[in-house]
Symmetry: C2
Subunit: 358 residues, 2 copies
């Protein structure tokens, strides 16, 4: 007899991404920023480490909410800081999804949403996308109508495309909440979130942001949910009292205090992204126009898994992804390579290897 | 129409403890360790801050699990590190408690368990204690029998007493799991957890530990669930992928690497606890023999809230606690003062103030 809830027994265990611990790898598989965080972040952590670690952090992270409010263009009471935007997603599912309630999300995108729905005892449905990553609105609409929570990464992963505000706003469930997961927002030309939050439907949106990607702080775990204060107040009841620690709060404050550093890295990444995209196209790949810090590359003749393996043999890690059950795809599945936009030398190594592999 | 789950609407919002931000307070209300963490912790954080914060932490915290395994006397596969032992509790509730299932816990103790049960849509029941904080086994037994999860802080709060292994082992639900919340274990004479884990019933226990109290790291958020590997494997499916960050992992590794520092502070706290307990008794208080870093003080004539307020007026914070619905208590409720064992100078200030207040 299992002691676990049946939902927990049913889901698969967590499979950590490939994180080789030894040196010498070109790591383009988990969308980390290749550049270090601002030196102000390092100084702030060092100062906090010499401070009072024996006392609890501020449970409401008041100072950080004020700083994030400036950065994201909302009031402090519109912000819930969390232990990475992963924790924002967990809090959202626990806040809004009861047993049997429906979670909808575009497919292919971030399949973690399914696991989170299953842990809650909820059900889930996939919102179909067209082959060019646009919405199949006619088929989405009846699913959205039944949903308690719809989750849309924008820009999307693995594709890297970004949908317009109007397209996303059409996905608000009439009896639920739409979450716009903006993990990669800073790499696009504009971020949708704050503007939609101030729209007539603003009380039905939650936008999630993270410092992991653009601010080079994947190791620190700091994400934010942005939403109407009524939604934030309810979500706050669900979070652990001290979900953000003293060091992460200090790091996040310093990072948000130095947007110029982040923007400089962002520009480098965008320039490298353009070069990577063009070079991949020259090599015969189809590459979606990316608004994120990765690109989605496919070849008409396929063979993506073989390329992934040949790259890995050369100590270059990219992400091979395969999505079964895609209705409009030839063979019922799509697969391809999701490649993080690394530093220029890393991308040079990748391109040289791809030319060799042929 | 609320968009939240009805369970979330029903629970009260989180009321942060009193955490005055300005200087000059003697803070004896949240059981923090008055002494700083090991200098090795500070050095390890500084080194990690200058390391690779742009990449994700190890999702399984492999190195830390190895170190914690040595410290707690179990194998690494018996350990789940988490964002404070609060997160361990949240993961436990999400792993084992489905809608309508029963959570039992001794009363008076840590009422957070009720909130966590309510968030899960579970129910909860209080295991009655006698006036001397011993178990009313006859009345507990039928409740335990119906429980999916029983949670027992040992040492208990607010009382500070510690129950024997045998008493605690009697509370394993026949169809569920017993969680022994050992947040304060290091301040007692022996810790029950590891020994019970290796007993015949070991597969039915989860022990939680924290570095917040004994290791002076409340600001860093690091807790551990210790349990049979089958239980840990299931709980791991529920946790967020990167629930522990790079800096916390580095801090925890360094802290566990310097047990002598912790033990030295523990001895100081135990000596101060003895002096505080005796002095309070001399002042006419009843004080439970404490195995934790706080004491529970009551006076036959009551007036505890007034003492709390008079102390607060002198910038000394202790915790006034009141528990309604205690069957065996005169008036149906008990109240008292939970006083953290601070540094000697802080305790001197407290005792002087109490003598003044009279």
């Amino acid at each position: 007899m299992s002691l676990f809830r049946p939902e927990i027994d049913r889901i698969a265990g967590y499979a950590p991404g490939e994180q080789p611990q030894e040196a010498g790898w070109v790591k383009l598989n988990t969308n980390e920023n290749p550049y270090p965080p601002s030196p102000r972040v390092v100084a702030a952590i060092e100062q906090a480490a010499r401070g009072r670690l024996n006392v609890y952090p501020d449970p409401l992270a008041t100072q950080l909410r004020r700083k994030a409010a400036e950065a994201y263009g909302v009031g402090p009471e519109w912000i819930l800081p969390a232990n990475g935007s992963d924790e924002c997603l967990t809090i959202l599912l626990r806040s809004f999804v009861g047993p049997g309630e429906l979670v909808a999300y575009p497919y292919p995108s971030y399949v973690l949403y399914e696991t989170l729905a299953e842990i809650q005892g909820g059900s889930h449905a996939r919102l179909p996308l067209n082959a060019d990553w646009s919405w199949d609105h006619a088929r989405c609409e009846p699913i959205v109508r039944r949903s308690k929570l719809a989750l849309v990464p924008n820009p999307n992963s693995p594709s890297g495309n970004r949908w317009s505000d109007d397209e996303v706003a059409a996905l608000v469930p009439p009896h639920g909440v739409l979450v716009i997961d903006e993990a990669y927002a800073e790499f696009g030309d504009e971020a949708a979130g704050p503007r939609l939050l101030h729209s007539a439907l603003g009380g039905r949106f939650v936008v999630t942001r993270t410092l992991s990607k653009s601010y080079s702080l994947a190791g620190v775990r700091m994400g934010f949910a942005l939403a109407h204060p009524d939604l934030i107040a309810g979500m706050r009841k669900v979070k652990d009292s001290y979900n953000c620690d003293t060091l992460s709060i200090a790091a996040a404050l310093a990072a948000l205090d130095d947007p110029a550093w982040m923007l400089q890295n962002r520009e480098k990444i965008r320039a490298t992204r353009a070069r990577l995209s063009q070079s991949l196209r020259d090599l015969g790949f189809h590459v979606v126009d990316s608004r994120a810090n990765f690109v989605w590359a496919t070849r008409p003749q396929g063979g993506h898994r073989g390329i992934y393996e040949a790259l890995k043999a050369r100590k270059i890690l990219v992400r091979y992804m395969r999505y079964p059950d895609v209705a409009n795809a030839p063979g019922g599945a799509i697969d391809g390579l999701r490649i993080t936009v690394g530093a220029d030398a890393e991308i040079d190594a990748l391109l040289a290897a791809l030319r060799e592999i042929g």
